[in-house]
Subunit: 881 residues, 2 copies
């Protein structure tokens, strides 16, 4: 029979999947003898059961919980609801992956009309006891019973009014007692029953609330962003309360074993004396730097630094710790591998290898590929920055440069971002509700909060630049404006820039420059390259992109989209002439004008690649994309003049080319079937360029020609024959030959199921997972936005299938095509060039199914290299295990 | 080693696949001792080899041909190119399936400057000999060497001019000799070499020409229309020439053992004395009825009638025979199962059973299911049709004959029809808005769209004749006229007729005759029903269609498309109100208006079905289809008034609903995910109607609810839960329960590969092969017409995948889903309700993969029943063999 509840002393760090991260680490800390307030963990499997059982806790699990509670009471020497020595607990969520602030927490559980007196007696502080009680009532009512907090706030205000005071601190013990009484009335009024006095009832309801919060919208959104499956579930940690606000010999704080922004090896953190955890986060009082504790409480500081060092050595990673000091005694409430910036992650990983703590491969696994994004993106142009006007400064919470239009609510920010605007989210302070708006913003600015505030932690996790605790600004959310202390006013939509590395905020949009790749980065990537099996190519259409990608480590071009070359102003006229042709002769004449420029494109690309391979995809989009829209009458008139025809004729052609579902229309290889002369011209451009570059540079050039949108073997055979015939003509004309390959995109579902047949005509397959996802799912990428949000909300889909490959469905088509393709042609080369080529979880999948390479946009090349290394190392470790 | 050439005496009727139909039957006739001019057959495999070997005949095959030639010369006692007794042969194609006139024939092969003299001597008729020679030169040059015939015609005219005569018959032997001489010059001029004098060269080139003609455009087209795979190839029959034009004791003719129009058991045919086959076909002389031969040549006639009876008995089917009488001696040149009308097919099949020649199951196989179509629709009066002027031709989208006055909008057509006029609706292409106008028209003609366009699908469903994609006409809707490519103009109100079985459009009203469903039809269908395993249901949306389908033998409704019910004028307002709602409350209010009418629809359907099952598909199309087009400003203004809103707001909504690829957009189950209230309303309508009809009639009603466009298991689970919850509410309200099923359309490629998962939520699958073909192939049905012709021409596709299921690709997805589905849920019910449900070859496929039923439009139900019987009987026979 499954065991659903574990005392901390029964668990270990290895039981992360079952106990969640927090629970596993509490158990581990208990086992290695650290001072941890004791408690127990209700497992993630209990959460899954809870949902399976129709959102109820099964009797056998309830029994286990009560048993664990009894054991914990014994350890603490306290009893639930006791008048002398009441046992109080916190109830916190803790899933397998860290989900900071996404789910619910309940503190001070166990307080009731009796225990509050016990707490008052025990602490000698009745005001503190009743303040705790009224907070617990409000928290329980809000989190567990869904009574809106505003009802409680109103009652608190009423008491303050009656007393004629404005601050909470002006209320004395009797006032707090009155507040608690009134809060119970509010509870009764809204729930139709008394506030539960039985601590076991409080506990059981709170556990259920944590389970429920696994499915709240912000948790769902966070999971989607971070590839966390919904069936993991959350564990619940029930832990004895300790109090950092019991006087001047008490306190609480958070600390990192190394600097999470830079990676510097030095204890980093903040603490507050006579305070609880929420005070540190709330930013009402300014916390002290952790180092000052050395003077304030030398004994405790010494104990803490020793523990910190031990924990880092134990976990072999930088730790993020929470602690509380209760009447001079140190308690560890949590430790976990700390979130860090990309730069810090690289430095820490490399340092840990230097320190002999990690092997190179272990170090590679310590850096999340998705994080690299921030390293590769631009910083402010120094010259421009000098001229920019600093309007405010705050804490440098998450590095990087960001500019955009200011918006004052997460909703407004999200909406504007979806309209394509660059957005800076400006908030008094952020809450977990704001998660989507934060994700969609270029940068985040808050007026309050410290380096470990919600905004700071989340922004660092996202790699989003952030400045927090910026006291130089005053925000008026209602009027949608902010005022700086110099009197400058910024309305919604005005542009600002901010540097999350310096904490400075600038007026207007400051221009940016490319990022510098540091030594740690190069070191780690070299280790990654040693470990990976997958090759990494890039999707690039210009020499500039190619050079950038090669700098980032691309081993060739996996997708050169020739249509992008057609759109350039200098050649679009000839392209349009080709499209508007009535006869094959006219079309060929127009294509002859395009040939030399297209050939020149390829020559430059081959030179930029210096011998690395390039896969050229033949013209793919429907032809109407190259014509002006019908509504652009001026442009049509110009075009008519240029081509010596009439506007009417052009409009007629636009109408004729109109398609109901262009994504499934006359495009891809279908263009070459109806107009073989297009494939002929493109073959000439590719082969003639390759021959010329080989002659001029001596580079070994081996063209790879890729036919898009193939659905049947005969279709590929037909287009391939055009390519082969044209190539032979060129070889005869020029008196020299070269090897080249002809392959196909795999992007039509039918092609995947007959891949053995298609492979007989193909030298390689490259999966076009964008189109394969569109057609496999029947989701038009341009239209699905309208309904996909409902899919996420209802947990039908957990991730955007265009960002993260749907491995169960579309992935099955890929696997099938891999297997059949290699059956049809042993040694067939296999790659992928859809958007998913730069998505780490998808890269892992492509590694597993045995592709030869992935290809992605230049800025994602390092991400793909690292993800490929992760896949290879993880596979090796699994095999060992 | 494969044998590529068979003497007639080496083959048999069973070797049809190898020898082709003609070759197999010549062999069979030889074996049963009939007088057949001897020869040999080059096999279909030699044809396949020919293409594999890059259009050359391999040396070993050439060797076999020469060996067979030598043997044949010995049998005939003649020699190629001989001055005394020259051996002449015909070279004819002959594939596995009959392809009348599609491929090339060469007669009199073997003639050269020497043999022509031999022939003159032998026949005592030099004019005949030189006429034969010059014809052979022209035929060889034209068919084999691709010299245009006009060059020969010009030379013949020149000789006649010089002689001052006009007719060929005015030329004497010397003139013909001159013509032959000049023809050889023409040949030399165009080919740069002499006309080949060596008969073996003539033979080998002619065989190659027959192989090549397998791939000529008309053969490709014929194969596509008749589901003949291109890899079957054609055989070549080389046969000793006999001459029906050697005098008054010679002749030639064709005859059927029964009347191919009516099926009457009586010899039916024609012959001409002193003539060759082409003279009978050319129609210059009027042939005699076969019965007159009894007087003209009683001995030969007696011999022929005996042979005819024997052949029919031997083949146990009506025979179509060609014969020649050379100097009083009868030769059989061909026999085959004769083509016949649908009525004749039924009569002959039933008669042959009565005569004890066939079993019932064998008789069922004698009737081609596709033929039944013509029996079920009115047809033009044959005599009148011959006189009618063809003005245009398009795709034969829905069979039957229709005449009436043309109208260019559905509204105008409906109005005229309501005034009692016979109307033909002529549209650029139809939209769901046009439903009423289409229903009230006698026939439908569209300029655009393919065999599965909206017009085609709806017309077939309605049993309304339709010709679609008719590029010969240009429609000017504004001026209310259409112009044909011959310049004829038809205004509103002018009469035209069209034949939806042939695609032809005629000027004026051609009179029609009602189709007669004869007793033979009923008899044969009863035999078919006994034999088949597949159930046959119908796609029907109205009680009228339902009753029609049940008359045609439908065993239930496999697809009731609820959206068609939404378009009716009386309810479209509420539907539009629902779509234009801003809140869920407004939407629910509008849905409440639709509920009673939709429920009434279902009540009527259930009553019409009298206890047979009905599968109701929930709302499928994108919502914008229910709104007027943006250009219809008047209608939008009306709608705004009606709904108490503004035109601007409606246009805004139309814009918001616009999709780039609506086929892969917000439709199907996605509507129920975003607007669960739609599924709730439809569940109410289905279940409440079923309960009511059960109460009122006592019929056993068991609703089958079908959720369209499912791609994932969770999606189905989500919508199913809405259905189950709503049903439970109704059962509680009404105090009675009923069983019902919830299943899904399988039409998304992804669904097929995860069918085991989806089956866990589904009581049944119904394959939506239209959408599955669209997304599986990435072919937009409405757009593919633009490029599919190129696909047929280039042999990339052999059939329209929307008309005939692509068994290799899309079929593989179906098979996969069948297998996985039954793994996921043993006993899962499986059907198909796409257009392919009425296509015989597809029905056979669905039988083989093990579906439980097919569902098709009412007029296709008998076709599907017969096709299902064919599949079952063929399978049984294969197992026996």
């Amino acid at each position: 029979m499954a065991k659903y509840v574990y005392l901390f002393k029964e668990g270990s760090a290895k039981m992360r999947n079952l106990l969640g991260g927090k629970g596993a680490n509490l158990a581990e800390m208990t086992n290695i003898g650290l001072p941890v307030p004791q408690g127990f963990t209700v497992t993630t499997e209990a959460c899954t059961r809870y949902y399976e059982d129709g959102q109820t806790i099964a009797p056998e699990i309830e029994k286990e919980i009560y048993q664990a509670l009894e054991n914990t009471e014994k350890i603490a020497g306290k009893k639930f609801g006791d008048l002398e020595n009441p046992f109080l607990v916190s109830v916190r969520s803790g899933s397998r992956a860290s989900m900071p602030g996404m789910m619910d927490t309940i503190l001070n559980l166990g307080l009731n009309d009796v225990a509050v007196e016990g707490l008052a007696k025990l602490t000698g502080n009745p005001r503190f006891a009743y303040d705790s009680y009224r907070r617990f009532i409000e928290m329980f009512a809000g989190v567990v019973m869904e009574v809106e907090r505003k009802h409680f706030a109103a009652e608190l205000d009423a008491v303050k009014n009656e007393k004629g005071v404005t601050g909470d601190t002006d209320l004395n013990a009797d006032d707090m007692k009155e507040v608690a009484r009134r809060f119970k009335d509010v509870y009764n009024k809204h729930k139709g029953e008394d506030f539960p006095q039985e601590p076991k009832v409080q506990l059981m309801e709170s556990i259920k609330a944590v389970f429920r919060s696994w499915d709240n919208p912000r948790a769902i959104y966070y999971r989607r962003m971070n590839d966390i499956p919904s069936d993991w579930g959350t564990a619940v940690n029930v832990q004895a309360m300790v109090f950092g606000n019991m006087g001047d010999d008490s306190g609480t704080g958070v600390a990192f074993t190394r600097n999470p922004s830079t990676g510097e090896k030095k204890l980093y953190g903040e603490y507050l004396m006579n305070a609880q955890g929420e005070d540190v986060v709330a930013g009402i009082r300014t916390p002290n730097h952790i180092s000052t504790m050395a003077d304030a409480m030398p004994e405790v500081y010494k104990q803490f630094t020793t523990i910190a060092t031990n924990l880092e050595n134990h976990y072999r990673d930088m730790q993020d710790m929470e602690f509380t000091i209760e009447k001079g005694k140190l308690y560890m409430l949590q430790t976990r591998n700390g979130k860090r910036t990309a730069a810090a992650a690289l430095k820490i990983a490399v340092d840990l290898v230097d320190e002999g703590r990690l092997t190179e491969e272990e170090a590679v696994l310590k850096v999340d590929p998705r994080q690299l994004d921030t390293l590769l993106h631009p910083n402010f142009d120094t010259a421009a920055l000098e001229k920019a006007e600093v309007i405010a400064a705050g804490l440098p919470a998450s590095p990087g440069a960001g500019s955009g239009q200011v918006y004052f609510t997460a909703k407004d920010a999200a909406r504007a971002a979806k309209e394509g605007k660059a957005v800076v989210l400006v908030r008094e302070e952020t809450t977990p509700e704001d998660i989507e708006g934060m994700d969609l913003s270029k940068a985040i600015l808050t007026a309050r909060g410290g380096m470990t505030s919600h905004a700071a932690v989340v922004a660092r996790g996202m790699g989003r630049p952030a400045v927090v605790g910026c006291h130089d600004i005053v925000i008026n959310e209602e009027k949608k404006l902010m005022t700086t202390n110099k009197g400058l006013v910024f309305h919604e939509g005005d542009a600002i820039s901010l540097d999350g590395g310096t904490g400075k905020v600038y007026k207007g949009s400051v221009p940016t420059v490319e990022a510098q790749v540091t030594g740690d980065f190069a070191t780690l990537m070299a280790w990654a390259d040693k470990a990976r099996r997958l090759k990494v190519r890039t999707n690039a259409d210009t020499p500039r992109e190619t050079i950038q990608a090669v700098e980032f480590g691309a081993e060739g071009i996996g997708l050169c989209r020739t249509e992008h070359m057609f759109f350039e102003a200098s050649r679009i006229a000839a392209v349009r002439e080709m499209i508007l042709s009535d006869t094959q002769e006219q079309r060929k004449a127009a294509l002859n004008k395009i040939l030399p420029v297209q050939q020149k494109d390829f020559e430059e690309m081959y030179k930029a690649l210096e011998g690395k391979p390039m896969t050229v995809r033949y013209l793919d989009p429907p032809l109407h994309e190259f014509l002006p829209a019908k509504s652009m009458t001026d442009e049509i008139a110009d075009l008519a003049r240029e081509l010596n025809t009439t506007s009417e004729k052009i409009v007629e052609k636009i109408d004729a080319l109109h398609e109901f579902n262009p994504m499934m229309g006359h495009r891809g290889c279908r263009l070459s079937v109806t107009f073989p002369e297009i494939a002929e011209m493109q073959t000439r451009a590719v082969i003639q360029a390759a021959l010329k570059v080989r002659r001029e540079t001596g580079l070994q050039v081996k063209p790879e020609i890729m036919i898009p949108l193939i659905g049947t073997r005969k279709e590929l055979a037909f287009v391939k024959q055009i390519v082969l015939d044209t190539a032979e003509k060129i070889f005869a004309e020029q008196g020299e030959r070269m090897e080249f390959q002809v392959g196909t995109m795999m992007e039509i579902p039918r092609a995947c199921v007959v891949a053995d047949e298609i492979a007989k005509e193909a030298d390689f397959f490259s999966f076009g997972t964008n189109d394969l996802t569109q057609m496999g799912f029947g989701f038009s990428r341009d239209d699905a936005g309208k309904f996909l949000d409902s899919y996420y909300e209802n947990r039908i889909l957990e991730a955007d299938p265009f960002a993260r490959l749907d491995q169960e469905g579309i992935g099955k088509l890929v696997e099938m095509a891999v297997k059949l393709g290699r059956e049809g042609r042993p040694g067939l080369k296999l790659g992928i060039c859809g958007e998913h080529g730069g998505d780490p979880s998808s890269v892992e999948f492509f590694h597993k199914v045995g592709l030869d390479y992935v290809s992605c946009s230049p800025f994602r090349v390092p991400i793909a290299r690292l993800a490929a290394a992760h896949a290879a190392i993880n596979e090796k470790m699994e095999k060992k295990a």
